[in-house]
Every structure is written in C-alpha cells, then in structure tokens.
Amino acid sequence: MAEQIIYAMYDDDDVLKDGAKKLVAKGIKVAEVFSPFPIHGIDPIIGIKNTRLGIMAFLYGITGTIIATLGMRYFMISDWPMNIGGKPNFSYLDNILAFIPVTFEFTVLCAAHGMAITYLLRNKTLPGMIASNPDPRTTDDKFVMEFRMSENSNFSSEELLDLIKTTGVSEIDQKSVK
C-alpha cells in the first residue's frame, strides 16, 4: 500500500512547537521535523530519545587510546628502542609520561572524527548523499512537520488535515510514496 505523507509548513519555529504540542496531546504522531536550525526543546515534544552520540564518542576515544598505545609501544619500544631523554628505553611504563600527550591527542582525534562522521552518516548528510528534506525552503526560513498516515491509523486523512489546520500552518502538502 502506498504511504500517505502530510507535510505541514510553518513560518515560525515557536508556532510549530506549540502546534506540535497540541497535536501530540491529541495522540497524533509526528514523524519528523525539518528546520534550518535546531529548535530548542522540540525533541521531547515529538518523542525523540536522547542522542547516543556520546556513547559512540566514548567508544571512538577508547579505540584511539588503544591504537595509540599499541602503536607507540611497537614503534618506540619494540621495533626500534628510542632513547627518550636518556631514560630506560626498553620499557613503556617507565616512559609513559612521554607518550601521554600523543595518546591524548590521538584519542581526541579519533573521538572527534568518529563523532563527525557518525553524525553525518546518521543524518544522511554525508557529502554526495541525496537531500531528504521535502522542500528546499527548510534550509532557509521555513519549518516543516512530517506526518505519516501509517503511524496515525486512528485518524482519517481528513481529520488529520483539519487538526493540523488549527495550528497556524502556512502551507500543507500531501504526497504518496510507495
């Protein structure tokens, strides 16, 4: 069955937020909000869970720490023991102070790059990916809420449209996708 999608466009983010609050209170599920900038406080209203990016950042960071430690252990101690300020050069632990800055930097590097790439991948906004927003104006000064009929099976599309029209919407668009 073809999926019916309703796009409701707003001129103002506060109007959208109030509208979302009102519609969610009536039991309507908002599938997605498109906005040129993050709308503060919209996440809990439309039922988006807290981001797990922090957990990923931690895992990427730990990966960096381990790679840096293993790498330097091999380069500086096992493969070719380096003389570090005349200190014992066959021990990683005795020279660990010299390796901490590099470990730190590599941890940050891995965490930051991992986070940035994950973020872009998750949002499907990596360079070259096809834009998924319904209207190019949502990157300028318009705000769009997306409703899917399959998620709102308690309402007929006419009921849903009537309810959306009470929230100060500026444009409504309907689309059906396979």
Binding site: H40, G41, N50, G54, F58, G85, G86, K87, L97, A98, I100, P101
Partner: protein
C-alpha cells in the same frame, strides 16, 4: 526565601569542630611524647597554613567564579547566585585566618616553613648561609612579602565588598545600571586576579620550597582552587535543594555545575601533569627536587592523590545522567575535595617538614576543625540574604534554563 539552619546541621558543625579540637589535642600530646615537641611549632603552623589557605582559596575561587559570570554576562547562574555569594562570604574570615597564620610565621622568623625569613640563611658567614636564598632576597624578604600580601588580600576584600553591596542593592533597585557596573568591575577584578592568583601562589606556597621554581605553579594552584570551589558549590546546591529551598533550580542547573566540576578537575589534572611531565622530561636537578622529594617520601599519597583527583571525576562524571545524579555528584565531590586537601598538604608539609611529615591526629583534627568552621560560616552566610535574587536581568532566563 529565607534559609534557616536546621538543628541537625547546627549540631553537625559543632560536632565536627569538637572532634577536630579533640584530635588536635591528641596530636599535640603525641607530638610531645615523640620528640619532646621539637617539631611542634612547625607542624602546628604548617597545618594552620594548609587549612587557612585551602578554605580561603574556596572563598576566593567563588569570588572569581562570580566575577566570571558577571564579566561574561551569563544567564543560567542567576538562580544559584546567592549560593556563590554565600561561599564568597567566607573570604573576609579566610583573609583574617591567612593574616593571623602568616603573622605568627613571620614573627617566628619563618618557623622553618618560610626559611627565607630566617636571617641565618641570608647572613654571609652564618652556619646555615645559603647563597641561593640570599640571591632571591630582593623579592623574598619580610617587608616586601607583607606589602604584596596586603595588596592581594586588600584587593580581594574591596572587590568582594563591592559585589556584595551591589547584589543587595539590585534586589531593591532593579534596572540594568548595577548589572553593567558589575560587568565592568568584574572585568577589572579578573585582570587583578589573573596576576595575583599566580604571584600569591609563589609567595605563600612556592616559597616554601625556596630553591625551586615553576612558572606554571600559580595556574596549578588556581585550578585546584577553582575545582574545590565547584565541588563545594555543587554539594551545597544539592543540600539546599534537598532541604526544599531553591524552587528555581532545576536539573539543568545541577548539570551545569556538574559540568564545571568535571571540567575544572580536568584543568587541574592537565596543569599538574604539564608541570610534572616537563620537569621529568628535561630532568634538570634544580627543577626535579620538588617532585623527587615527594616521590621518595610520599609516593602513594602523591600519585594516589593525582589518580583520585583525575580519574574519579573523569570516569564517574563523564555521562550526562551522572552529572544530574545527586548521589554520584556528592560522592565524587567529597572524595575529590579530600584529594585536593591532600594536594595542598603535600605542597606545604612535604615542603617544610620533608620526610618528617605524616598525616596524624593533628593533621586530621585541624582539618576537621577548619571544615566545621567553614561549613558553619557558609550556613550563617546563607541566612543573611534571600536565597533567590530579585531583579537580576537574566533571572527569567535562568528560571527557564534547559539543556
């Protein structure tokens, strides 16, 4: 809303102070038994310096933090402003304690803590004569030391009084005139503080290890001070919140102060490590003495203190939920505050008494007494002003703070 000290809190502070006095008494008696009180003066004065400085620094850190909020025109903190101000209220008391301690030490010619005050070290031909100390005597001498100390303490006091007066006036008058005046004064204070926090650390703490020097030392002391302040601030806020005060303080404020605790403990660890690593790497005898002495005599305490102050906040406060959890914040706070006290202990006692220093009844007793006194002064300060500010330009923003 007016704060009232509960009977329990009142008894608690008195109990801590009495236990502290008792322990101090036992410590003094034991000291007499051990070596006929040979180190008694040095040990008592060293402990006085530790506790005067440690708690004075928390008050000063709060004043710095308040000035930082004014100078950056921050909004979120308006709901907890009175708590920060109550912490700064310890400053005049801390100043008196510092002056008394330093005065006794000066009158005793350094009391083996500031050995550069002792003429025996700077008089050529004397048994103890030390050319390095004499070379530093243009800066490290009693009159100049006191001129500097009075300038630091006087400046802090004057700014503290101004901030306090204007804060109360704002409640009555309102408007933005006071806000912009605070903005200007805070910026000026931060300039003074930037210089004085460094130089006062050299004078009061670094001159104990008189041969040794480190340009990073002032920031290291400053970071420790800031971290202790944030810990006390978060613990106090949680306490007041639990007592049912502070209706405007929500989870987001707690989260923000938690973040500050997390960040400042990292700042402290970063500076400690930077100082240690550079000295270790260069391996120059005149620089390594400081760490060598502490590693040889206080290995577990020295590295244990660093590991606890660094890893506890790092591991336990990393997640978002932990920074909003009262139990975790308080637990980490208490442990790390103790860790920072040990940090100051090692700076002062290891520097002055060397291998003879150890944490005994006297150290714990005097610390407990000072802690009880500190908490008491803070609680009394809290009763003196309404816990919620009125007419702060950013109060509305703070009430709706959400992150």
């Amino acid at each position: 809303m007016e704060f009232k000290i509960t009977k329990k809190a009142n008894l608690f502070t008195i109990f801590v102070m009495i236990v502290g006095l008792l322990f101090t008494g036992i410590g003094v008696a034991l000291e007499f038994g051990q070596d006929h009180g040979h180190h008694l003066g040095q040990r008592v004065l060293g402990n006085m310096l530790i506790n005067s400085f440690f708690f004075f620094a928390i008050g000063l850190g709060a004043l710095f933090f308040l000035a930082l909020q004014y100078a950056t025109e921050t909004g979120w903190y308006a709901s907890v402003k009175r708590i920060i101000e109550a912490l700064t209220g310890y400053l005049p008391v801390g100043i008196i304690m510092m002056v008394v301690t330093l005065l006794i030490i000066t009158l005793m010619d350094g009391a083996h803590i500031y050995i550069w005050m002792d003429p025996a070290y700077t008089t050529p031909g004397s048994h103890h004569y030390d050319a390095i100390i004499e070379g530093k005597s243009a800066f490290l001498n009693k009159p100049f030391f006191w001129i500097r100390t009075i300038v630091y303490l006087g400046t802090y006091f004057i700014f503290w009084r101004g901030f306090k007066k204007r804060s109360m006036l704002e409640d009555v008058e309102g408007g933005t005139k006071i806000h912009f005046l605070n903005y200007k004064k805070a910026a000026i204070f931060l300039v003074f503080f930037a210089v004085f926090s460094s130089t006062s650390a050299w004078d009061w703490i670094m001159s104990i290890d008189v041969h040794w020097f480190s340009t990073l030392f002032g920031w290291y002391i400053f970071a420790g001070m800031w971290c202790s302040t944030m810990i006390v601030l978060v613990t106090l806020t949680l306490y007041l919140k639990k007592q049912g005060y502070l209706p405007n303080v929500n989870e987001s404020h707690i989260h923000d102060i938690g973040k500050w605790t997390f960040a400042t403990s990292f700042l402290w660890s970063y500076l400690w490590f930077s100082q240690f690593m550079l000295i270790w790497y260069a391996n120059i005898p005149e620089e390594t003495t400081y760490h060598l002495m502490r590693i040889e005599n206080f290995k577990w305490l020295y590295f244990g203190m660093f590991l606890i102050n660094f890893s506890f906040p790092m591991i336990l406060l990393m997640s978002r939920d932990a920074k909003r959890h009262a139990g975790i914040l308080t637990f980490v706070g208490v442990v790390v505050l103790l860790g920072h006290w040990v940090d100051v202990y090692l700076m002062i006692m290891a520097g002055s008494m060397g291998p003879n220093a150890f944490i005994g009844f006297m150290e714990i007793g005097m610390m407990l007494f000072a802690l009880g006194f500190f908490i008491r002064v803070i609680l009394i300060n809290l009763t003196k002003a309404p816990l919620t500010v009125k007419n702060h330009p950013f109060l509305d923003e703070s009430i709706h703070h959400e992150i």
